[in-house]
Amino acid sequence: MSTEAAAWRPPPLIADRRLRFAIYAGALLYAVLALGTIEVNWARAAEGLARGARFLAGFFPPDFVTKREDILEGLAESLAMTVVSTVLGIALSVPFALGAARNLAPLPIYLFCRGVIAISRTFQEIIIAILFVAMFGFGPLAGTLTLAFATIGFLGKLLAEDIEEIEVAQAEAVRATGAGWWQVLDFAIAPQVLPRFIGLSAYRFDINFRESAVLGLVGAGGIGDTLNNAFERYEFDTAAAILIVIIAIVMACEYSSSWIRRQVQ
């Protein structure tokens, strides 16, 4: 074995040895200093521990019965919000996705659609919900519109990227037969992106349900409203029951959406 071969090591990520150590040392120093700035009052934390335990104890046993009507109503409202917002969001996201795919849309349309998608993705659902509650008043309408708007950003972006990554040859072949733009869309592009589109839609349904539980906290309707009320009235046993219901439904949604995704692949 030559000495050169014996001395071989994989090349490091940062070639300059001094720069490499400077970066590692700097990062470590910052972590230590940052930790030092966080004031932890251990005495208070110890005191709070007991209070926390009492608070958690308040959750048991969960009470499904006393506020049964409220829970069912909130749940129905959340599910309705989820279904309506998902359907509306999907219907609106398709045209935006087509417009935001660089290989389909001319530049001005592309920029407009990308802009709308970027706005929808920039703001967290809660912020949009606060805005819509101010515009449309408390209740599920604001929540539904929030989720539909967020769905446009999510599906629009992912579907547009899928369309941009299609196999060009298949679209070219259909175009070469003399097919029109819509026919190319129907025969060459849709078959390539449909399975993932269905999978993403199912996934978004599941996200929208989870979000609908949060949006109640800012007054945008749904089971989150019911949960918020339970906390405000110190009915922790009812709150626990609501949390369990939410967990069960989220798990059911997640399981069915992953099943759907497996089926369409």
Partner: protein, 265 residues
């Protein structure tokens, strides 16, 4: 049938892919276009149906100037130009019948194609052609379930469904084994003979070109450097097309070919 006059294409990158190509392909002639990678073979046939826009020159199909057509007129003209692709370019998630019927997209309206309601005559023709290439049993299979040779036969049927006057064939055998390559070439040449189609076949395999084409055009750096019968491909000519190499084995490999199966399923 097809006439190219001073056809040139310069890509936006500055590469001159075609440099004033003039050529005439009469009705019923099978012409093979050979040349090294990057010589402009693909660009040439894509300029004919304007999948690539030529920079200068004219393309006349039965006297009609293709380069001057509006988008609508171009779609009509494309119906008369069937195209067969390297790697088949079938829409993989559509069935064989849907791929075959997509050859009629230039003739049927959007809604008819959306609901897959093609005229009975088209469906009858699809059945007849699938039987001709021995793929009747595969009718409702998804295109990605087929072998390479079967897929290329579907590609051929799709092109013939257009009832074209001209066939543009881009590297039809590039991903096929030698036996299947010969079967596919034989099928293309037979069908062109039956229908009196003018045909341009881009092909890398010089031996195959000599075996099946009535006329060979050699392209180098976007210019025609040979135009004549297959017998005229001497080592000197091949050197002019491809550059220096020992050509004797290539030329001798061509003539005999015992295997004569009709196209099996």
């Amino acid at each position: 049938m097809l006439q190219l006059i001073g056809l040139s294409k310069r890509y936006r990158t500055g590469d001159l892919a075609l440099d004033g190509v003039s050529l005439e392909v009469p009705k019923g002639q099978v012409m093979a276009l050979i040349g090294p990678s990057g010589a402009g073979k693909s660009t040439l046939i894509r300029c004919v149906n304007r999948l690539v826009e030529p920079t200068a020159g004219q393309v006349l199909l039965a006297g009609q100037d293709i380069t001057a057509l509006s988008p609508r007129g171009l779609r009509r003209a494309r119906r008369r130009m069937g195209m067969i692709f390297q790697e088949y370019a079938l829409v993989e998630r559509l069935s064989v019948m849907e791929n075959v019927l997509s050859g009629r997209l230039g003739y049927v309206g959007f809604w008819a194609s959306w609901f897959r309601r093609f005229p009975p005559a088209d469906i009858a023709e699809a059945f007849r052609l699938l039987e001709r290439v021995g793929l009747t049993a595969m009718r409702d299979k998804r295109a990605d379930a087929l072998s390479g040779g079967q897929r290329q036969r579907v590609g051929i049927v799709r092109a013939l469904m257009q009832d074209p006057d001209l066939l543009l064939v881009d590297e039809p055998t590039a991903s096929l084994d030698p036996k299947t390559s010969r079967q596919i070439m034989r099928l293309i040449v037979e069908l062109c003979g039956e229908r009196g189609l003018a045909t341009i076949i881009n092909i890398h395999d010089v031996a195959l070109a000599q075996m099946f084409a009535a006329r060979i055009v050699g392209l180098r750096a976007g210019r025609i450097v040979y135009d004549g019968p297959p017998e005229g491909l001497t080592p000197d000519v091949l050197t002019a097309i491809y550059g220096e190499e020992d050509w004797h084995a290539t030329i001798r490999a061509a003539p005999d070919e015992a295997e004569t199966d009709p196209v099996p399923a």
